[in-house]
Amino acid sequence: MSTSTLNTSANVPAVAWQRLREVPLLPAVAAAVVLFFVVAALAPHLLTSRDPFAIDLPNALQAPSLAHPFGTDQSGRDLYTRVVYGTRESLLIGLGATGLSMAIAVVLGVVSGLGGKIFDGLINRSLEVLFAFPVLLLAMLFVTVYGPSVTTQIVAVGLGTAPGYARMIRGQVLAVKNSGYVEAAHALGHSRWTVLRQHVFPNAMRPLVAVVTLGIGQSIVWASGLAFLGLGVAPPSPEWGALLDAGRMFITRAWWLEVMPGLAIVAIALAATVLGHHLQKKLEGARS
């Protein structure tokens, strides 16, 4: 097919449509979900006109309807609005925890991968210890010390998930360090630092994009698990874990209070996972 014939203005939408069709459906849906939640986090008022805190006692515990797509809670607050407004904190926890976890993991992983036997041994031992603390346990201890808040959730989940990432990054750094192109770069006479900067860091960090995406969803799930244990963000915050915790007692009378925020969590975790895998595949595809 010759491109010149297609390159007329009339065909631009057709070309765009063609392009769009090439995007795989699942990642596209996932991207749309993520986009929705990003908008919800940054500008929730665009997605709802209600106030997430405004109580309306006569309209408490209304089932989902056109007026209240997710129903209302025990104080008559619109659940959809609360889920939308809760996105910011939930996403913040997800991003923050993953970010923190990655920061720790990158430092540990890189030092471990590059630092020689002693550092590697030391860090590996400490990771071994951290591994012995399951995320939930560590988070529980942590929240008990510092009290429930967004910050403590971020730190708790971040710390809890860091060792896994650290190990992965270490493996990645080692793999890149021993790769053919790093050897080739050394053979060309590049200095150690140049090789690290030009090859080791960028290539070792490349798969992290996908991992980060996967991690965000999981962090949100972990954090809401803490809320379930009563160690979450305080009410009346519409953080999703808090919504779930509050909704649990109504499960037999107002199922939507438990199901809707849960679906939001599942949706974001799933979307993040799908996107993560998609990215991973793309990156791997670009390599082999």
Binding site: L26, R125, S126, E128, V129, F131, A132, F133, P134, V135, L136, L137, M140, L141, F142, T144, V145, G147, G164, N178, G180, G217, Q218, V221, S224, G225, F228, L229, L244, R248, I251, T252, W255, E258, V259, G262, I265, V266, A269, L270, A272, T273, V274, H277
Partner: protein
């Protein structure tokens, strides 16, 4: 024909291995022709490398447990608020300051007045002699508290792991490298399962299968029928994770020449999947299981609380909330020990599944 020598296998990164790592049609005929200045290696586990490895493992284990205990001690000792006040208020259910006269006997009894370092060494000394102390709340030796409750939790943990493995193995073996439709639906389900919050799943399972359908008891207890829903609650998300890592490996395995070889000697597709490829695909999942065991153990608190099961999880949450340091430490140490043990099991499982790893 060169004489046969013991082979180092694929996994050694032996720089002497000619021709680079990937041998696409190059001159690498395996590593069979390694220089022969090498003593044959006995396969007995009790020889010095084996002992050294066991010794190293033991040291690591002790290190992990020690670090876990120390960490827990610190975190609990550094908690805000005065521990004696806490104990008194907790007994009375009040939130108030306490007079020095009230606090003195408590401080004396538990030695809260001693310097932290003295408390720490006393704690370590007790620990070394297997004395985990007596619970502040239950007035009972911690070993007994744990002993009472560990059974159901361990049962739940292993049942969940089993459920997770069964689900993921069946789904993977049935759907990987099938038509695009089937495998994408299956991997979609895996992603959903992996993203399911356990407690949420648990509540939904409880409401649907116990309350509405009445298939399972609402209050599980320790019976077998009461184990199903809790095990599913913890097992389904884990199955999603296992599925995700196993699927990749399984697909790799299906693409391996040995799978084709097996087909070519007359084996059916299902046979190849179950007899050959599955075994190759479980290694990453097995690694994950070691980690998962510790995670399940602490996650048990969620299932225990939803399904009203006895178990350590509940004890742990209560103890953390009431700062029952001896109990918290005891459980943390137990989890650390389980983690160490789980990893030992993982190592054993590794060499059972992939005997090549015995040498590396």
């Amino acid at each position: 024909m060169s004489t046969l020598k013991h082979n180092t296998g694929l996994l050694l990164q032996d720089p002497a291995h000619d021709g680079g790592a990937s041998a696409a049609g190059g001159g690498t005929g395996g590593a069979a022709n390694h220089p022969g200045r090498r003593r044959p290696r006995p396969n007995n586990l009790l020889t010095s490398p084996g002992l050294r490895r066991a010794g190293g493992r033991l040291l690591t284990a002790v290190g992990v447990v020690w670090a876990a205990a120390t960490f827990t001690f610190l975190i609990q000792a550094l908690l805000p608020g005065d521990r004696a006040t806490l104990l008194l208020n907790q007994l009375a259910g009040q939130v108030q300051q306490r007079t020095a006269a009230e606090l003195a006997p408590i401080n004396a009894k538990y030695g809260f007045d001693d310097p932290l370092i003295a408390q720490y060494f006393r704690f370590l000394g007790d620990l070394a002699t297997g004395n985990l102390g007596v619970s502040y709340q239950l007035h009972k030796p911690v070993t007994e508290v744990i002993g009472d409750q560990v059974g159901p939790t361990i049962g739940l943990t292993f049942a969940s792991l089993l459920v997770a493995w069964l689900i993921s193995a069946v789904v993977i073996a049935g759907t990987a490298r099938r038509s695009r439709m089937v495998s994408s639906v299956a991997s979609g389900l895996e992603a959903v399962a992996a993203g399911l919050p356990q407690y949420w799943l648990g509540v939904i399972l409880l409401v649907v299968f116990a309350l509405n359908l009445g298939w399972f008891p609402v209050v599980g207890g320790t019976g077998l029928d009461g184990l199903v829903l809790p095990a599913l609650t913890l097992g389904i998300p884990l199955a999603g994770f296992l599925g995700q890592v196993t699927r990749t490996e399984f697909e790799k395995g299906m693409d391996q020449p040995f799978a084709l070889s097996a087909r070519m000697r007359g084996m059916g597709d299902i046979g190849v999947r179950l007899r050959h490829v599955l075994r190759h695909s479980v290694l990453p999942g097995v690694t994950l299981s070691g980690w998962a065991l510790g995670s399940l153990f602490s996650g048990a608190v969620i299932a225990e609380s939803i399904f009203s099961r006895p178990g350590l999880g509940k004890v742990l949450v209560t103890a953390v909330n009431s700062r029952d340091l001896p109990v918290v430490c005891g459980i943390v140490i137990l989890i650390a020990a389980i983690y160490v043990l789980a990893n030992l099991l993982v190592d054993i499982a590794y060499t059972l599944i992939d005997p090549r790893l015995k040498n590396s």
